[in-house]
């Protein structure tokens, strides 16, 4: 896509800016859709209907909510550190969105094809932690501070299982470049990494998925925003569009980690039937479909499981997931050495 645009526009800076904005065209409609979808999923799992009034079965509900949030009074607490307070949502969103630079939506489109794509992804998503800490501290609210501190501890601890689980795939492909990892899974669906080196990579997906739930603050690891204890955790004091931005970044983050899971384990934009139904636009379709499956599982888990306490969460991260990841790395390594 980059070459195509360069051919038309001839201006490199303009082309790169456009490439950077393209994921936004996905992220924002996705967030609107995901909010509706989550409300509908939760409703049907809870034996009720969810939004039904606005639009057909409530499809316009999210737009109504965005309108409402835009019209709300922008409340900044007097005693809050207003510079940090106002800056925090942008930092959180920035950290979440910057990860989309390396997400390969299709064979033809990837924001920035760098050779250390995966490494970049893991590191840039930690910027969001800084934003959360800023939000919690600047709110001048003890409960927000709790949420922020817990969140920092949680996200930093679970980076390690994420990285280790991903390491197994990197060992198999030998590259950190996401497009190449995608290409390595071409063909029919049994080439996908989830079925390769069975069962090690399958469990690597399980560990990655669990750890990524902690990365995006979703139940059962949603302590930073634990509604029943902390009211809202780090986003308690935010109102109106600032809150909307924090909310948007949460969904953006959710999809980003799902996108990486898709790329690494489910074959990315490859069609499951080999050459049938494949191509640049079909790639986008398959990619989004697989990403949405993970999103669905994330939402499903949110409405089923209770919340883990903070020290139990650290226990799970450090004493369960990390040792298991090491075992998996060992297994994959031995497999690769033994069965050339």
């Amino acid at each position: 896509m980059k070459d195509f645009l360069l051919g038309i526009l001839q201006n490199e800076i303009l082309v790169y800016t456009l490439m950077a904005v393209v994921p936004l065209a996905w992220v924002i409609p996705f967030a609107l859709f995901a909010v509706w979808w989550e409300r509908k999923i939760s409703a049907h799992m809870q034996d009720r209907l969810g939004p039904m009034q606005a639009g057909w079965h409530g499809t316009i509900q999210t737009i109504a909510d965005i309108l409402k949030l835009m019209l709300k009074e922008d409340i900044v607490p007097t005693a809050a550190d207003s510079k940090l307070f106002k800056l925090a949502p942008y930092v959180v969103f920035g950290g979440a969105y910057a990860a989309y630079a390396v997400v390969p939506f299709s064979a033809a489109y990837v924001g920035s094809e760098i050779n250390v794509g995966l490494f970049y992804f893991i590191s840039i998503s930690s910027i969001a932690v800084v934003g959360l800490l800023m939000a919690g501290w600047a709110s001048n609210n003890k409960w927000s501070l709790y949420g922020a501190l817990r969140s920092a501890a949680q996200i930093v601890s679970y980076e390690i299982p994420v990285a280790l689980a991903i390491l197994t795939v990197v060992m198999v492909t030998g590259t950190l470049n996401l497009q190449e990892i995608n290409d390595a899974q071409g063909g029919m669906f049994w080439n996908w990494f989830i079925f390769q080196k069975f069962p090690f990579l399958f469990f690597a997906l399980v560990i990655y998925f669990t750890a990524s739930l902690a990365e995006v603050n979703r139940t059962p690891f949603d302590i930073p925003e634990a509604e029943s204890e902390l009211v809202g955790g780090y986003h308690t004091e935010y109102a109106g569009m600032r809150f909307a931005l924090l909310f948007l970044s949460e969904y953006a983050n959710m999809f980003a980690v799902s996108a990486i899971a898709t790329t690494m384990f489910l074959g990315g934009w490859n069609s499951p039937f080999g050459d049938f139904m494949s191509g640049p636009w079909w790639g986008v379709f398959w990619f989004l479909l697989k990403g949405m499956t993970f999103i669905f599982i994330q939402m499903w888990l949110r409405w089923t499981l209770p919340r883990v306490r903070v020290d139990q969460l650290m226990y799970v991260g450090w004493k369960v997931l990390i040792p298991f990841s090491f075992v998996l790395i060992l297994g994959v390594g031995v497999w690769m050495l033994a069965i050339q």
Partner: protein
């Protein structure tokens, strides 16, 4: 007598948290202070307007001081200004507004003992059925909201759905869903509708599998067990000394239920078990035990309702209601087993038609007083778990 509790292996040093801790090895260079944080009157997990002042050291709670009185509506003063003992009943409803039938039951049983009235058999049976329905309803809310406190949002909706069936029966009988003014001194305000027995049987058949569903979804879930088992242990002697009652006492292993140990009304005609906490998943007297006692109690209530509805005799429900209530000077204290615990009414009459003193012994008030003792040494998230397992309704705590 020092009744502070000991966390596993820790020595109970009540004053330890009061001194600012110094970090060893750094002399006076680094000083840690405790933070006072308010689980304020408005909080999603305090089940009402309860202010819990937590003094915390990081995530560990050093002390938890409850401040109540935000919902004080002067029930006892109002009762003294009533012209008629029957007029107190709508106020009594509003004590534990979640299980209003139980409150009414307590009051009318106390009044009938004071007046030495014998009510017809039909009235007794209907009262027992309504009281057990109210027990189911109250426990459904308790369990559902406990799930929400733990982060599991779905069981609450399932409990609400099941509760709707009971509220339909209530609405058909007396016209109200939450606050009934149904049980009067000497009888009931309305007789039940002709389809009452069928509807009740249908509900019992419908509800039993739902309890199993709740167990699958929440009770035996690993994360839920980790959050609640071993958390907030209340030893039985401490529980008795603090006056705890109901599921809080039974969760600590004390097999004590007023329906069997101090029977009132016709409870001695029904066969049912008293579930008791046995420390299966953690220690005896932890939050999981209190939670499971409530789940099993719902099953037992269904047993009682099924037996009562089979034996329901015909008759008139309003024949024994006195035209004028003017008890002789005297006093009485009667206690009944509500879903929250032991509800007592101490009624003092001076011979006029207006009560002299109506004192309520609220189970939630007394159960809540155990919270400071239990919470010391646990984490903030555990405070939420403990509060939820004690199951308070502020209407009763504050009156």
């Amino acid at each position: 007598m020092d009744v502070t509790l000991q966390k596993e292996g820790a020595v109970a040093d009540v004053d330890a948290g009061r001194r600012p801790a110094t970090v060893p090895g750094l002399g006076r260079a680094l000083r840690a202070e405790e933070m006072v944080i308010n689980m304020g009157p408005q909080h999603p997990s305090t089940h009402g307007v309860l202010r819990l002042e937590l003094i915390v050291d990081g995530e560990i709670v050093v002390d938890a001081i409850p401040h109540i009185g935000y919902l004080h509506r002067c029930f006892e003063k109002h009762a003294e200004s009533m012209n008629n003992y029957q007029q107190v009943i709508p106020y009594v409803d509003r004590l534990d507004y979640v299980a209003a039938m139980s409150n009414e039951f307590g009051y009318v049983v106390a009044m009938e003992k004071l007046l030495k009235i014998q009510v017809p058999e039909r009235v007794e049976y209907i009262r027992v059925i309504m009281a057990e329905f109210s027990r189911i309803v109250s426990h459904l809310i308790a369990l559902g909201t406990y799930g929400i406190d733990m982060g599991a949002y779905t069981p609450f909706l399932y409990c609400m759905r099941d509760r709707e069936h009971v509220l339909d029966i209530f609405e058909e009988t007396c016209g109200a869903r939450l606050l009934y003014n149904y049980m009067w001194v000497g009888g009931l305000s309305h007789d039940v509708k002709p389809n009452f027995q069928d509807k009740t049987r249908d509900f019992c058949k419908y509800f039993r599998p739902k309890i199993a569903e709740l167990n699958e979804l929440l009770s035996y879930n690993k994360i839920f067990k980790e959050r609640t088992a071993g958390v907030g242990v209340l030893p039985p002697e401490v529980a008795i000394n603090y006056g705890a009652s109901g599921p809080v006492l039974r969760g600590s292993g004390v097999k004590w239920d007023l329906r069997k140990n101090d029977p009132y009304s016709i409870y001695n005609r029904f066969a049912f078990d008293i579930p008791v906490g046995m420390g299966i998943k953690g220690r005896v007297g932890d939050s999981w035990d209190r939670y499971m006692v409530r789940v099993h109690e719902m099953e037992q209530s269904v047993n009682i309702i099924e037996q009562a509805v089979e034996q329901l005799p015909a008759g008139d429900v309003q024949s024994a209601i006195p035209k004028r209530i003017r008890p002789e000077p005297g006093e009485v204290y009667v206690r009944t087993e509500t879903p929250k615990g032991e509800l007592g009414f101490y009624i003092v009459s001076d011979g006029t038609a207006s009560p002299y003193r109506v004192k309520v012994r609220p189970p939630c008030f007394v159960n809540l007083s155990t919270v400071p003792a239990i919470c010391r040494g646990s984490m903030i998230a555990d405070v939420v778990a403990i509060l939820g397992s004690i199951d308070i309704v502020l209407g009763e705590v504050d009156r």
